[in-house]
């Protein structure tokens, strides 16, 4: 009974703030509203006994990704016009895509054979996850870290300052043009 109340609380928070993310005209408000959506999802995880997943969700999505999203959105200019572009040419494709996405998720939910789990106080999951990552799933784990490393190197190259030699060449070139 109390579990149900907690579930409905978190579910309501998630759905309402999620709706606000989509419906809000102000893109910054939408980004900040994601905070409550992600927090609600973390709460649902915790309620399901997946405490490690809940805390990881908070660290990765709220502490990391959401901050980046807000940073990016804050730097963009907010359109002040009160007349957003609307019309069937936008609504129809959006509706079709949403329905397709919903159908896909629905099929996955119905088609999956969910493991039955005894209800009750959740046990400590972190040790099991750690052991799993270092034994059974060590290859996927290392593979994921390799992908992340590649992304990091790529980002570093993209934002890298040019080497002093290149800059010096350019300066010399500019000088020639001016003279």
């Amino acid at each position: 009974m109390s579990g149900d109340l907690v579930f409905y609380g978190f579910a309501l928070l998630t759905v309402l703030s999620g709706f606000f993310v989509v419906a809000s005209r102000n893109v910054v408000h939408a980004a900040f509203s994601l905070l409550f959506t992600l927090f609600g999802v973390a709460g649902l995880y915790a309620q399901l006994g997946a405490d490690f997943l809940a805390v990881t969700q908070t660290v990765v999505y709220i502490g990391g990704i959401l901050v980046l999203v807000i940073f990016a959105v804050m730097m963009t200019r907010i359109p002040r016009s009160d007349a957003p572009r609307r019309g069937l040419d936008r609504a129809v494709p959006a509706a079709i895509l949403s329905l397709l996405a919903f159908a896909l998720i629905y099929m996955v939910i119905v088609g999956t054979r969910w493991p039955e789990r005894a209800t009750g106080a959740p046990e400590a999951t972190v040790a099991e996850i750690g052991t799993g990552l270092m034994t059974t799933f060590v290859f996927p784990f290392e593979y994921a870290s390799l992908v992340l490393l590649a992304a990091m190197v790529g980002a570093a190259i993209l934002i890298r300052e040019r080497a002093p030699a290149d800059v010096a060449d350019d300066a010399a070139g500019d000088g020639e043009v001016r003279s």
Binding site: M1, S2, V28, L35, D51, V55, G63, M74, V126
Partner: protein
């Protein structure tokens, strides 16, 4: 929370259902933690002004209250409560009003997993340490919210700096705690403190050389994490007026202030529990555990104040250099070194 639910169970007998006990216990603990936060702000504002005065060869507040201006924070509080609650005309009203509470709640949630004494912990979580780092990262969102909603260039600069700094220094902060987790084999704050039983030589910061370095790294990163000098770039008075809370007044400003001093104490409490033996005394059996814990944490806070009023502020590029090119690699070396130490001394299970 166990303490509180037991207490309520004794008072009400069978009058309360288990759910009622849980809610009552939880609310009481939350209230206690909020009071601890308020007390932090009251005590530490006075202490900070006295420390600053001492370092700058002056007295600091002397008039309110008979002895050394001890009632100054009370006077300040009354003043701040009486101030008008101003929302700038061009501010983003809903976000502007919400931001102080996001920051405050982020801070309050982290307090839940601090073990002040055996059994006196609001939520005895298996993931305690990880949980604390997770929820305190939510405060970054509050900083961005305040800075953006104020519609003020200083606020926005302060918020951008604050968020960048918090996101960066979180990494060495958490990495420095990993060796302790490796030794203890647990993220539970109670377990971490209990593992340090038996005098100062059993405390984690003296466990091995790598852990000593990890403790120093944690301490430096924690100063940056709470945006204090010499890492107070988000609030630089000389260039940004006050940073992300420039436009706030009255009670809402007080919430920022409260969260700031509470966070100062929070990071010191984490350091106390993780590295300095928590409620364990220097030697001998456990006595007055809560007091021992608070004394250790307050000494760390005083150390942070000393550093704030002694060291000049870093530049932005130096700030990022120190974090990413010095502290993160060093923290990784500590993790590796502590692991090798455990293998070499046969502590690895």
């Amino acid at each position: 929370m166990q303490v509180m639910t037991d207490l309520f169970a004794r008072i009400f007998g069978d009058g309360l259902s288990p759910l009622g006990l849980l809610v009552a216990g939880g609310l009481t603990m939350a209230l206690i933690m909020a009071l601890v936060m308020a007390l932090c702000a009251i005590v530490f504002t006075w202490a900070e002004r006295k420390v600053a005065g001492f370092i700058q060869s002056r007295y600091g507040p002397m008039r309110v209250g008979r002895w050394h201006g001890v009632l100054q924070p009370v006077a300040d509080m009354v003043k701040i409560l009486g101030k008008e609650d101003i929302v700038p005309q061009d501010a983003d009203k809903p976000l502007f009003l919400l931001a102080p509470f996001v920051i405050f709640v982020g801070s309050l949630m982290a307090w839940a997993a601090i073990p002040f004494a055996p059994g006196f912990i609001a939520a005895d979580l298996d993931l305690g340490l990880f949980y604390i780092f997770a929820v305190s990262s939510a405060a970054t969102i509050g900083i961005l919210m305040a800075g953006w909603a104020s519609n003020n260039k200083w606020s926005l600069y302060g918020a951008a700096r604050g968020a960048a700094q918090a996101v960066s220094y979180e990494i060495p902060l958490a990495l420095a705690c990993i060796p302790v987790v490796m030794i203890t084999g647990s993220l539970n704050m109670n377990d971490i403190v209990i593992a340090q039983q038996g005098g100062i030589w059993r405390w984690h910061f003296l466990h091995d050389p790598f852990l000593f370095v990890a403790f120093l790294l944690y301490f430096v990163a924690s100063i940056a994490e709470v945006n204090r000098g010499p890492f107070d770039l988000p609030e630089t008075e000389s260039e940004l007026v006050a940073g992300y809370h420039t436009e706030y007044t009255g009670m809402r400003f007080a919430f920022f202030f409260l969260a700031e001093y509470a966070n100062l104490f929070l990071v010191s409490c984490i350091a106390t529990a993780v590295f300095l033996g928590g409620w364990q005394p220097l030697f001998g059996p456990v006595f007055l555990p809560g007091l021992v814990f608070v004394i250790k944490a307050v000494l760390l806070v005083l150390l942070q104040m000393w550093l704030r009023w002694t060291l000049p502020r870093l530049r932005v590029d130096q700030l990022m250099h120190v974090c990413w090119k010095v502290m993160v690699p060093l923290a990784l070396v500590c993790v590796l070194g502590a692991g090798i130490w455990m293998l070499a001394t046969g502590q690895a299970g």
